[in-house]
């Protein structure tokens, strides 16, 4: 028989530190045993700041407060590399980034990126945070004028061939569909809807954190090569 990850199964108290872009999806899975802290979604742009922000929070947690800490992050461009805890065991999903978490498995992410490497993924969370090509264009134009904005967006997006919205089942999809279609039209690329899965979010909150999770023991840190075989 497998030894359970935590000796006690009752009164287990866990802390989830996660990206705000999946806040709704994670909160949906609340079971009363976990507490949440969500971080600014913008951290993904600066991986060095991401690990620092997460580390500060981990270091702040007292040993007796929780039995373990769960990270609601993928490898995120090395944004969690080096993160460690001296007082708690860390549980981390084995995923390159949140797209895997939304889609529900590393395999589905892989098959999507093999079929359509030029996919710009959107989820309701990402759209709400303003991370769409159209809203980027708007903010570029505000700072640098329309001509420059067009040029920048073209340079940034020229190899993308598809916008895919992942339906995570938590939001009513329709308003987000509309925005995603507008974006696809604006860029002149195709639009598709992909079915998401709550698997990772449920598992994040409730366990048993088996095949798709890394268990980082106290004093060890998260390393890039732990994700290479995905």
């Amino acid at each position: 028989m497998k030894t359970p990850l935590f000796k006690k199964s009752h009164d287990l108290k866990l802390l989830v530190l996660a990206c705000a872009v999946m806040e709704k999806e994670i909160r949906q899975c609340q079971n009363g045993r976990v507490e949440f802290k969500f971080f600014d979604y913008g951290l993904h742009r600066t991986p060095e700041n991401m690990s620092k922000a997460i580390q500060v929070e981990i270091d702040r947690v007292n040993e007796e407060e929780y039995d373990g800490i769960i990270l609601g992050y993928g490898l995120c461009s090395n944004g969690i590399v080096g993160v460690h805890s001296h007082r708690h065991r860390l549980i981390v999903p084995r995923a390159h980034d949140c797209i895997t978490l939304f889609l529900g498995s590393p395999e589905s992410y892989k098959s999507q990126s093999v079929k359509h490497p030029g996919t710009y993924y959107l989820t309701p969370g990402w759209i709400e945070k303003g991370e769409t090509p159209l809203s980027k264009y708007g903010s570029y134009a505000k700072s640098y004028g329309e001509e420059t904005a067009r040029w920048v967006l073209h340079e940034e997006m020229k190899h993308y061939t598809r916008i895919a919205v992942i339906d995570t089942g938590v939001y009513p999809l329709e308003p987000y569909q509309k925005i995603a279609i507008q974006n696809a039209k604006f860029l002149g690329i195709s639009y598709e809807e992909l079915k998401g899965s709550p698997y990772f979010f449920k598992e994040l909150v409730a366990g048993p954190w088996e095949k798709d999770f890394l268990i980082i023991e106290k004093g060890y840190s998260i390393q890039q090569d732990m994700f290479f075989d995905l």
Partner: protein
Amino acid sequence: MIYQEKKINPIKILPTIGEAEVEMKLVQLQQAVALRNCKVVKELTEGLVKEEVDLFKILNHGLIPGMLENSERFRRGEFFIPELLMSSRALKIGLNILRPLIQERKRGVLGRIVIGTVKFDLHDIGKNLVIILLEGNGFEIIDLGVDVPPEKFIKAVEKNGAQILAMSSLLTSTMSWMRSTIELLHASGMDGLVKTMVGGAPVTPIFAKNIGADAYCREATSAPAMAKRILGIREDEHTSFTK
């Protein structure tokens, strides 16, 4: 030797502006790249060339430090893609002025480099900046674009007789293709003739070492110096003399 130096006219015309003024203009050039001001970059570079300032100085004390400053600001999250692209554009204007002058001073190319973004990865902002920098330094570039499979890299190296194979990736999910490409290069028996260079946001020095790459570039601006180093070319070669 990859090339032969052209004979240089031994009569050296003294710069008409003083050292201090040159230094000041180089600092201004650095700032103009950092501030993404194409017009000023063009004026200052042309002015410095006209004054017969060492091309190596214009590159490495003017244009490149300005770009490096912005790359670092991008890394720290103070700048985003528009600022990065706009400074690349300003840098390119300066380098386009220097390139023909550098080419004029040599008979062959400094080296031939096959470059591309690895398979299943379509990000090329960093790679394109590396190309601007390498071309500006006198290298000949064969750009394979994005989503380049290992076989295509190897074929291009063979066909063009390249001395360097350079690869970029922006995703942790695609960087392993660098390893596959280097392995294929080894299997093809060309590894003794070709050096490999890797870079891109998720690539680390440890990863580069583990996959057997000859050079790792932390940022685009270090690519020319690294390329010269692995080919055993002096850092200031082809750029260190005036007309």
